[in-house]
Structure formats: C-alpha cells, structure tokens
Symmetry: C2
Subunit: 329 residues, 2 copies
C-alpha cells in the first residue's frame, strides 16, 4: 500500500453531514459539540477475516457495509440516531489498495444513507487476518432508555422483519461454489451480505414510554435470554409465530426454525412492550412497510425463555434447546 497519509486523504469524507462536528479526520482526535437535549450512544464491534467473514462469501464492499451495519444495529437497538463512526483496520499485505478502498466505499454507502460522518480511526499492518473495528456514535432524546432490563410481566414479545434468512444465505453461499443462484437463493444471500439495521423502527419504539430491546446478532434464542436475564422475567415464545420468509421456507423449510433461533446476524430487533402499545406500533410499522410480529408474552418467574411447540414447552437455552428439559404446559 502507498503512504498512510495519502490513503487517509482518499477515504476522508468530501462532505460533512453533522453540524455538531467541529473537527473530523486529520488531527490527533475528533472534536464534537455536545447537545444537552440529547444523550449519547456509543458502541464498538470487530469483524475478523476467517472468523466473521471470508473473501469467498463476502466482497470487500460487503465486508465494509456489514462492519458498519452491525454497529448501526446496536444504535438502533437503543432507539437512537447514528451520527458518527471511526474505523480501525489491520491490513495483511495480500490486500491491495483497491480492495481497501472498496471496504470504505461499502461503509460510505450506509453512512450516506444515515447522514453519518467518518471522524477517525487507524490503518495498521498485520501479518494474517484482515481485522476491522468500528466505533459508532449515536444520539437519542434525553431520558429515553430502551434497555434490556425494561421487560415486565404482561408485556408482549415482538420481533421485526423475518428471522433466519442471514444464516440460510450463508448456507447458500457455502454450498454453491459456482455462485449460480436461484431467485430464492439470491434473496437469502442478499440478506446475509446486506443486513438492514432497523434504525427507523428503533425510532418508532423510542416514542413509547417503556420498551426492552435487543438487536439479533446471535439468534433469537440468545437475544431473548439476554432480555429475560436482564429483566428477571420469563419469556414464552410460540414457535408457530416466528416470522419466516417465503425464501427460507422454499430453500430449506426443515432447517428454517433452527436458523431463526440460533443462526444470528439477522440484525432485526427483538423486544417487549406493554400490550396496550402493540396495536398502535403494529399500525405504524404496517403503514411504512415494515414487518413487526408478536411472537410471545412475558410473565413473572425465575428468568428463562420457553419455546412453545404444538402442545409442549421447551426451555430455550442461549445455544440450543434442551430436549431433557421439557416443561408441562
């Protein structure tokens, strides 16, 4: 790669969106005005080549897109508006400059959509695996806390979009080396490579007085357990209510529930809200073309997640449901 300073010049944004930015890339650190009417949201996630992606299943552009998308998804899960991002990238010698610029282009595409400014980061060498760490900063109106600990008995459990598609898309990619895909397969592959952070739905939910919320990075089983644990409640989820896409059913219906529960990387939102708010939110989502589905209820009791399947209930663990722990309904 050429000189680091020349590279920085190339990735430096040509346009600034956020009026609160005082100084972006180019000094020791970025400087930002603080807004007393807002609270700040900050998160940081890393993607490693060979662990979170391979060049066989993701192009440099898609890798960049996804590295930013997973972080924006965390802002969405707090009900916030993403505003800034910083990118640190450790680059092995085998990656050429054009590929690196494509990674930044993939991020810039999403950043433009959400009017986010790239304000800093680092570019360093590494021996082996490309590693991208992204920090995203967002904001939300004061005193709106969409935390995992907000669930209460009597709430309904909801999920946005459809679940399992990303895992199914990865399965398509891993079993089709020639990359000739059917229309159904193309849909699933797209869901894997270009997950949509649910910022708009997060914003709608932020208007409610009380919502618990998580984004689905590790699958419904894991995320539901996190909320149940943080809130000390029982989740009861109906398997028949899980929103599965037409594409996943067509591709491999026998594995669709497994992918929905444990696949992860859907970056949809899962959470709970008081029953009385459900109809209004459902209508709002429907009007804007967003899918939101009621998949269960919250009740009192020692923290756990139950999966109701026909006339039985299973304890749904983070990493799999345990057939030795059947509960009588």
């Amino acid at each position: 790669m050429q000189d680091e300073f020349d590279f920085i010049e190339q990735i430096k944004p040509k346009k600034i969106y956020q009026s609160s930015l005082i100084e972006g890339i180019g000094d020791d650190a970025a400087l930002i005005h603080q807004k007393p009417e807002m609270e700040q949201i900050i998160c940081m996630d890393t993607m490693v080549e060979g662990i979170h992606f391979t060049t066989a299943t993701m192009s440099p552009y898609q890798i960049g897109y996804k590295a930013l998308a997973v972080n924006i998804s965390d802002i969405a899960a707090m009900g916030g508006i993403p505003t800034f991002y910083l990118v640190s990238i450790a680059i092995p010698k085998c990656w050429d400059e054009q590929e690196l610029l494509s990674i930044y282009d993939g991020m810039a595409m999403l950043a433009n959509k959400y009017k986010m400014d790239l304000i800093g980061g680092d570019t360093v060498s590494t021996a082996d695996c490309l590693t991208i760490t992204v920090t995203v900063i967002g904001e939300i109106e004061k005193d709106k806390h969409l935390l995992r600990s907000n669930a209460k008995p009597g709430d309904i459990v909801f999920v946005t979009g459809t679940v399992g598609d990303s895992a199914a898309g990865l399965d398509v990619l891993l079993h089709n080396e020639d990359k000739v895909f059917s229309e159904t397969e193309k849909i699933l592959v797209y869901k894997h490579q270009f997950p949509q952070p649910r910022v708009e739905i997060g914003r709608m939910l932020a208007a409610l007085p009380r919502v618990s919320l998580n984004d689905i990075s590790d699958g419904i089983a894991s995320e539901a357990n996190e909320i149940a644990k943080a809130s000390q409640v029982v989740f009861s989820i109906d398997e028949d209510c899980l929103p599965l896409s037409k594409a996943i059913r067509e591709y491999n219906n026998s594995r669709s529930i497994e992918w929905a529960l444990y696949g992860g990387e859907d970056f949809e939102l899962i959470g709970t809200m008081p029953k009385s708010d459900w109809e209004n939110i459902y209508k709002q989502c429907d009007e804007k073309g967003f899918i939101i589905t009621k998949i269960g209820t919250v009740s009192e009791g020692p923290q756990k997640v139950l999966l109701n399947k026909k006339d039985k209930s299973y304890i749904l663990d983070k990493k799999g449901y345990n057939h030795f722990k059947v509960e009588t309904k």
Copy 2:
C-alpha cells in the same frame, strides 16, 4: 477461553467514576449524558502483535497499559480530560485467560489514574496476531481547539519531557535477550514500556489563548512536519536544544539524536505558542516538576521543517533528514 459473557463479567469495572455515564457495559451500547459546557474529543488506535509489540519486549500488562496510553496521549494532544474508553480485542488461541486479564489490568491501572470508565467493546477470536483497538473519549471546555493548524509565525516551538528514550529502550530490549539491565538501561526500558501521556501539561496548555499541539507517536521529525503542514509555516528546530535524557546519552550518545527525531513512541507533546506565553508556562511546568523545553521558532514561508545543526540548516523530512537539501543559514 471460557464463555465470553463470563469474561465480560470479570473485566466489568467494579466502580464508576464519571457521573455522566448512564449505562456502561452490558447492553447493546453505552449511554452518556452530554454536557453543554464541554466539547467531546474522540480517538481510536490499534496495536497489532508482531507490528507494534511482541511478547518478547512487552508483558500482557504492559501491552494493555500502552494500548490505552497511546489513546490518552491523543486526548492530551487536544488539551482534554480523558473520561471513557472502549476496548476491542481479537485473541489468538495461544493466549490464555490470565494473560488476557493482565491486558485489561494494565489498562485499568491507567484508567484509575485518570478516573476513566470502561464502557464497551468486543472480544473476538483471531487466527494469528493479538490485535487491540481502543477508543478513548475525552472532554474539553467549549471553544478550546488545540489544533495542528494553530501555529503562527513568531511562535516558539516547544517539546515536553525528553525525547528518544522509548526508541532507545526498545533497542535495549532487542539487544539484551537475557534481560539483565544496568540502571541506565532500566530507565530507558521503563520509558518504552510505560509511556506517560501528558494530560496534565495538555491541560495547562489548554488555558492559553492559542496553542498548536501534537503528541509524539512517530518522532519529532514527523510530528513537526504535520504541524508545519497543517499551519502552512516554517519550523526551525535547533538540534542542540532537543531535550535528551542522561540515560540516553549514557546508553548510546551517537544514536540519541536519531532516536529523538525519528524513534517515536515517546508520547511527549510538541507544539507552538506565542513567545509571550512561554515564560509563564515554563514556570508552571517547573513548579509541578514537568520538563518543557523551547527547541525552535516558527516563521513565515512555504511549509517545511529546518533542523539547525552547528552553522548549517537541513530540511528535516518526515522520515529522515535529507543531506542533499542543505540550506544556507
């Protein structure tokens, strides 16, 4: 390593310092109150095993310390107070949990000193090189911008502490495999392994009406050129004025100037201020036991850095001084 969630429980701070923190580690993202009287400073730096450190020259504790120190140094170079940090770490299998906890302990030591809270990050696997990315957030009183572009003709050029010691310390480590060090060598090794971010001096400088400032991560030659470029001025540095420690002179005086100019990783501050402010700042530093040295002057002209050496001036490039570019004094 054990379960990621158990590991997070172990590194989670037991105590919160910053009253502006609403929600730290444990949800999708951290939540922070914004202070209208302050501006926010944000930076992000990555250290890669085999590139920025090796386990032969740095212990896990020192690696952690340094990963946080280099970022705090960027906050110091903006005149700010560090407040929060996020850590993302990509871990190869050969590192055990105790070593990882030592990395976090090394960071916690510095964080406690500066009353900073760990508010997020990520822990992921990697195949080969341990990679640590740290994001640090800091704050500074409104409208105080200690930027590289602030230098003006007539300013004096200063540097804090002594320079070259970190590079000399690395030289000691690389040439003493048995790790039996003289007292002089111990001082230099300590400077390499435990660089001190100059937050206190940065804060004194922030009180001045106009200061240009950079931290010395890449050596005086590189940092002086960055300020000269950003401010479009000429730096004139006197080689005889460069503050060299007794230890570096004793260890290898023939290479001390080379290390001071190009060694880097001293994490001292270099900058400029109006002549009229010098005496006052010098006194303040002296009273608190900090070294600050006037090493040159700023003048008008197309951006460059001159190094005055006996009766000649050389153009000091970022990466070395060029003997073909001697200027008549």
